[in-house]
């Protein structure tokens, strides 16, 4: 993977799958020189894809400017442009892809389409030193238990309906909680949950290595409307139940694959309660517990830049005519020749 004059090669990654617009710059050795993120935060309700895309288009200029400034890299120094090609929300992905194509053709450098889910795993491995982990990737859009086997990251378990992060977000909105920059809904729920101590029975749904959160969310939201419980207790119970579910399936994957590392990645990885649960099962199976640092837990451009480096080193380039976005690009569809 290492090049002769590695320090002279740089990659820029663009992330725009959902509510974050991010630009990251990485060296070919995996040193992250910049990682700038602008978050779209709706006044009310969830992510409106078109509004989020509008935000990305408006924020792009400033995010790029900051990234170049922070890294001290000039656009002319870039070896290629990596972008998040999917999975994600159409309008958001298209905005990022358009910027990527424009930049690549202007600079006359190759384009590298990156799978967003794989990028979350790769940045986790880069930042924690994990080599061959069972990965629990939990965010607002995804809940996946994955591990590498024979050329690809295989999906061992995933959510059958909504993502864990989505479940927490919607509950928080239903409860009338407010999020702000630096304090997303997940963090608000986490903080409130520390004030709860009464475990209210909620549906616990594990099917093999898969999980389901929609019934849990409905039950929690219904209890909320009844108003018989403290919101803190509901936050606590929701977290304990949902986290126990993903921890159980992670443990199943760990027992099944007998791997020696567990990696926690994605936006919800920033939750300390979830960290403590996953750490506990890792320890029980003599596996090392690794968690991605929080600035790389959320959707970010650095993970795209770095995964682009890995792919590009193995000759992966995406011709512009094939750079259409892939809204439902599953992670096990991607060959990962850089992992052995």
């Amino acid at each position: 993977m290492k090049r002769k004059n590695a320090c002279e090669s740089y990659s820029l990654g663009i992330e725009s799958t959902a509510d974050d617009f991010g630009v990251g710059i990485s060296t070919f050795d995996g040193e992250i020189l910049a990682n700038i993120i602008s978050v779209y935060m709706p006044e009310q309700g969830g992510i409106h894809p078109r509004e989020a895309a509008r935000h990305h288009a408006e924020a792009a200029n400033k995010v790029f400017e900051e990234a170049f400034l922070k890294s001290g890299i000039k656009p002319q120094n870039l070896s290629f442009i990596a972008f998040s090609q999917g999975p994600g929300l159409g309008p958001c992905l298209r905005t990022g892809a358009t910027v990527a194509r424009a930049l690549a053709s202007y600079l006359d450098v190759p384009l590298v389409g990156v799978n967003h889910c794989i990028a979350h795993i790769e940045i986790g491995k880069l930042k924690t030193g994990a080599r061959d982990p069972v990965t629990l990737y939990v965010s607002g859009g995804n809940t996946i238990v994955s591990a590498f086997d024979s050329g690809r990251y295989r999906v061992f378990g995933e959510t059958l309906d909504i993502a864990l992060g989505n479940c927490l977000d919607v509950f928080a909105r239903e409860a009338g909680l407010r999020q702000k920059v630096g304090m997303p809904f997940g963090a608000v729920v986490e903080k409130l949950a520390t004030k709860g101590d009464k475990l209210i029975p909620l549906p616990y749904t594990v099917k093999g290595m898969d999980t389901s959160f929609s019934g849990l969310l409905t039950a929690a939201a219904n209890l909320l409307k009844k108003g018989e419980h403290k919101v803190a207790d509901l936050c606590y119970s929701l977290q304990e139940t949902a986290f126990s579910m993903v921890t159980e399936v992670t443990e199943r994957a760990l027992a099944h694959t007998e791997k020696k590392e567990v990696l926690l990645t994605g936006g919800v990885a920033a939750n300390e309660r979830l960290q403590s649960m996953i750490r506990a099962v890792a320890e029980e199976h003599d596996a090392e517990f690794c968690v991605v640092p929080s600035e790389f837990a959320v959707d970010n451009g650095a993970m795209i830049a770095w995964t682009g480096v890995l792919a590009h080193t193995y000759g992966v380039v995406t011709p512009i005519e094939k750079s259409f976005v892939k809204l439902r690009w599953r992670l096990e569809e991607v060959e990962v020749p850089w992992v052995t």
């Binding site: 093999g208 159980e248 199943r252 027992a255 649960m277 809204l327």
Partner: protein, 218 residues
Amino acid sequence: MKPPLLIKKGAEASLYFAEWHGRKVVMKRRLPKNYRPSMLDEQIRTYRTNHEPQLMHEAKKAGVPTPTIFLVEMGDATIIMGFIEGKQVKKLLGEVSKSERERLCVEIGELVGRLHGYGIVHGDLTTSNMILGVDGKIFFVDFGLGEKTKELEARGVDLQLMKRALKSTHFLFAEECFDAVISGYAKVLGVITAKSVSDKIREIERRGRYVAERRRES
């Protein structure tokens, strides 16, 4: 009595090999999980320890070989059951010939068909939960996530999970294996039921996130 020997530290239970009144047995113990609240932990362990032996017994009535239950100890969430001499289907599938693999998968399909026909879904149909005994019979184990139901949805989820497990563990021949499973399933429950379950599986898959077949619509 010799001290129990740990065979497998599974995710939710530890399996020990032991001798018990002159018999070779497996002790399945669901140890407390410290990561989850004790109330939730106890609820899950008690429910599954109580539920699993019942389903294993029902499965026998359906004509699906399962280990004999000798003792259920609710206090420490332990089940003592007969030890099955044989080999895990998970390890077997990659070692045998194509035709033998097909024969095994058809038989597995028949067994799943019998379970479903009797109103049981297994809940964790992976090849690690199937043992080919020395007597040539395939035993199903680990009914901890099973349910008594005849619902089409539950049957579909049961088999879709198996399909996914085949894909992640036996990706080289997952498709031929699953086709064989479905043909065995159809032998027992009839082509019409098998077709409706297959359709259900497809529907469940399409519900999933980032499904290839849904791409054209997006």
